[in-house]
Amino acid sequence: MNLTKEEFSLFNLKSRLKLLKKDGKLLRQRYPGEYMLVSLYSIYGFHIETIYHVDNFKTLSVNSILNPDVYQLYPP
């Protein structure tokens, strides 16, 4: 069952990751810096970006995309 962006944002980071694992689809990934992996997911009809710290093995953020320009940052 789909959640809205607002509903998705009610959850903490750990739960958002659980939701991505459950209902999300990984679309693209990019490496903006040496230690960061940014992933783009599609879930419930909107998009989510996760930022993962490769060295610390820690996800730093899981947020819906507000600015559509961000898609251009990903390699085709």
Binding site: N2, L3, E7, F11, K18, K22
Partner: protein, 815 residues
């Protein structure tokens, strides 16, 4: 009109739940795997666990139990009054740190209540129970109630009404105890803590006793529970909590604002002296669990649980299920209305691999049955959504199968129906048998021959009798003297009647069947507030008619379908007439098939007062009447009846003057005001006028012969109002002048004269109605026990009356 028969109903409910495979189950797992359980060879995700944080699998806690057994063996068998195993001191010290209060560990929460409440509540205290407080608190309160302590109820979470009671009692009682749950076990809602703390600050005599079993571990710093999550224990409160839920070890604790009070309960509480202690394994586990609670790790666990709770609420909302639970607690309740729907739905969920519970009577009103489930930290989002999806997919199917609608559920729970429009294929009630229902609101619309053929010989409610009642109970000034009448007839596809009956809606006194001393006190309140503890009741039959009022063709294969259709219509009428309760009465006491049917349809069974009837009229004179009686009754009739016979002039009056009607009404009021055993409203004067002009009714009057009275006018000193039915003679009402009753035994003489009159008219049966069983037995009456099936929307008044503590010697009761 009926007495509680709760145990029988509960027993039936449990039996039905067992038969439906949803209760009294046993797990088969050799070793539990997370939140899965195996029952009868099938694996289920467990949505019935109260171990909300999933700590039962915590290695440290398990090792704590193991180590304690290694150290102390499987038990330490000694009363704590003599010696406690060392674990207790360690655990109580840690608990005092967790709660910032003085702790006393108890073997269970229930034993904690039984230890604390009789010590805390003094003889001149008053206890006010929240309507929904856990039954374990009520069990302990019964101990102080038995000692004469006044006990009352207050509507659930109504702090305004609670404050009114505090104001009323603060000058009269030493302490005013309010007893409540932190989080309530059925709907997961909470006590309004801000308001309760404000009352404790405002009123020095106000005391708060709270059971926070379901809040323990899930909320607050160190998991100290919902109640103490954001505040310290108040100097006027005592808290009980449980280790058998999220704390995950078994046992319980009492928390006090000071060590002195804790020591009093520790020293004086019954189970602290005479019951066995918590055993080493539980104590060792509890110490380890307390350590976990004192660590930072618990915060993460609490947050994970809250995330699961949040997700569950979202899913229930998105799948449009009528979720009644509060949004912060791990207890969920999806309303389904009737037990049969809950059985079926839970059964289907089990087939899909989910184990859930039923929230059912007596924990909730029977028509507010629901699917109750719990969420723990161990559930995954996948498990939660799969379960909710499964429930939603079966929900409408089950409603259709059981001829129930979402709208009826919303009505039962008094919630807005935001579900129907979004549910595709909303239930159109099944009517496979092509039954038709006819509904009339006056007997004039029912063919006389049809009615009298089916119901005319059962009492005073033949076609003419009902016409008289309708005309008497309308256009009167007082609300209670105006009744609504509904006539329902259900026919099969061939036009044959399967069921027919009538119902009345009337204002009734909620203490109608309460002990007389309770009714007496309530009547004092009614002097200024005539509708105090009253409500509207929809009942089969009426307050004035007796006997089985339902014609039901049990040989018809459609009878259950007809009953279902009937009950659906009754619910509709209940809503329209704003009736709080429904009573389907005067049915056979022993009828297992009907019991199951009615209970599954949301009715509980009650015992009616015995109905008195004389069936042996094979006597011809006083001597043979006497011979037909028991030895004791022979003596009675000789001394109390025959000896006074010569004193009376007896007249049968079929048409009487207005003056006489007034006199008879006065005599009736004498009896009415003297009898609270069946506490009903007085009948309207208009009814007596109708009796006086109706050929089916007659007045038998008794007056004293001139040589036995100093009065000159030879006025009636007793009147009997009787109905001449086709087969039965019915003695409906009596009026007596009590000033002469003792000397001349007028009441007994009146009953005797009724028998003589029935004999004279050739009747073989005499109906003597309810009450005065002992007196009626003396004339050879036999008693028939029947039952009623009831449904109550708001059972507060009923339970409140039940909770009233009335010591026979205490005549200063205040409601």
């Amino acid at each position: 009109m009926a007495r509680y028969k709760i145990y029988e109903t509960v027993e039936k409910i449990v039996k039905n739940a067992k038969q439906n495979g949803v209760a009294h189950l046993t797990t088969e797992d050799k070793k539990l795997d997370n939140n899965k359980i195996q029952i009868k060879g099938e694996s289920y995700v467990n949505f019935g666990s109260c171990s909300y944080l999933g700590l039962e699998f915590n290695e440290n806690i398990k090792n704590g139990a193991k180590q304690a057994i290694d150290d102390y063996g499987s038990q330490f068998s000694s009363s704590r009054a003599y010696v406690s195993p060392r674990f207790y001191d360690e655990l109580e010290t840690k608990l005092s740190k967790i709660f910032n209060a003085s702790a006393v560990v108890t073997p269970t929460t229930t034993l904690g209540h039984i230890a604390a409440i009789p010590v805390l509540v003094g003889p001149n205290d008053v206890v006010i129970l929240d309507h929904q407080v856990h039954s374990s608190v009520q069990t302990a309160v019964a101990l102080v109630k038995a000692k004469g302590v006044k006990v009352e109820m207050v509507r659930h979470n109504r702090m305004d009404l609670l404050e009114d009671k505090i104001k009323e009692y603060k000058g009269e009682y030493d302490n005013i105890w309010y007893m409540a749950d932190g989080i309530y076990s059925m709907y997961g809602d909470a006590v309004p803590l801000d308001a309760v703390y404000a009352l404790m600050d405002k009123y020095e005599q106000f005391r708060f006793y709270v059971d926070d079993a379901h809040g323990m571990s899930c909320y607050g710093k160190h998991g100290r529970g919902y109640v103490l999550a954001e505040r310290d224990i108040h100097k006027q409160m005592v808290m009980a909590t449980s280790f058998a839920k999220a704390f995950a070890t078994g046992g319980g604790a009492l928390l006090f604002p000071n060590a002195e009070l804790a020591m009093s309960v520790r020293s004086l509480g019954g189970p602290m002296i005479t019951s066995g202690p918590m055993q080493p394994s539980s104590l060792g586990a509890a110490i380890a669990s307390a350590d976990f609670h004192l660590s930072e790790e618990i915060n993460e666990y609490q947050e994970e649980l809250q995330e699961n709770i949040k997700y569950t609420h979202l899913m229930l909302s998105k799948y449009k299920l009528p979720n009644l639970a509060a949004d912060f607690s791990p207890i969920f309740f999806v309303g389904v209305g009737l037990p049969k729907i809950a059985y079926s739905l839970v059964n289907k969920l089990m087939k899909d691999g989910f184990f859930l519970n039923i929230g059912i009577f007596p924990a909730v009103p029977i028509k507010n049955t629901g699917v109750r489930f719990t969420i723990t930290r161990l559930h995954t989002f996948e498990q939660i959504e799969s379960m909710v999806k499964s429930m939603a997919s079966h929900f409408l199917t089950v409603l259709k199968e059981e001829d129930f609608s979402v709208q009826q559920i919303c009505q039962a729970f008094k919630i807005e129906d935001i579900y129907s429009e979004n549910l595709e294929g909303e239930a159109l009630l099944l009517n496979e048998n092509q039954l038709t229902l006819e509904h009339a609101d006056t007997i004039l619309d029912i063919p006389k021959s049809q009615w009298d053929t089916l119901l005319g010989n059962r009492g005073t409610f033949d076609w003419n009798g009902l016409n008289l009642l309708e005309n008497s109970f309308k256009n009167n000034e007082l609300d209670e003297e105006n009744w609504g009448f509904d006539y329902l007839t259900i026919k099969d596809k061939n036009g044959k009647v399967v069921l027919t009956t009538f119902l009345t809606t009337s204002m009734t006194k909620d203490d109608m069947l309460s002990p007389e001393d309770i009714s007496y006190e309530i009547e004092q309140k009614r002097i200024n507030d005539p509708y105090f503890y009253t409500s509207r009741t929809l009942q089969v039959g009426s307050l004035l008619t007796e006997g089985n009022h339902i014609y039901l063709d049990r040989t018809s294969e459609d009878w259950k379908q007809a009953m279902t259709m009937f009950l659906t219509k009754v619910s509709e009428i209940q809503e329209i007439n704003n009736a709080n309760s429904v009573m389907i009465r005067d049915l056979s006491m022993i009828d297992n098939e009907m019991d199951d049917f009615m209970i599954n349809n949301g009715y509980f069974k009650m015992e009616m007062p015995a109905n008195n009837k004389i069936e042996n009229m094979n006597w011809t004179d006083d001597l043979s009447l006497k011979e037909s009686l028991s030895k004791r009754s022979k003596k009675h009739i000789t001394q109390d009846v025959f000896r006074h016979k010569k004193k009376f002039d007896v007249n049968v009056i079929e048409n009487c003057s207005e003056k006489n009607i007034q006199k008879y009404y006065e005599l009736y009021l004498n009896v009415k005001s003297n009898s609270l055993a069946l506490n009903t409203y007085k009948l309207p004067y208009e009814l007596f006028r109708k009796f006086a002009t109706n050929k089916d009714w007659e007045f038998i009057t008794l007056s004293l012969k001139s040589e036995f009275t100093s009065e000159e006018d030879n006025e009636a000193i007793a009147v009997c109002i009787c109905h001449k039915g086709e087969e039965n003679y019915s003695f409906l009402l009596v009026g007596v002048d009590y000033e002469t009753n003792r000397e001349h035994n007028t009441y007994r003489q009146a009953m005797y004269r009724v028998l003589l009159r029935a004999k004279e008219l050739g009747y073989e049966k005499v109906e003597l109605g309810y009450s005065a069983v002992t007196e009626k037995r003396k004339f050879g009456a036999t008693q028939t026990q029947s039952c009623a099936y009831m449904q109550v929307k708001d059972n507060y008044n009923m339970e409140s009356l039940n909770a009233l503590s009335i010591s026979k010697s205490n005549k200063n009761l205040k409601i």
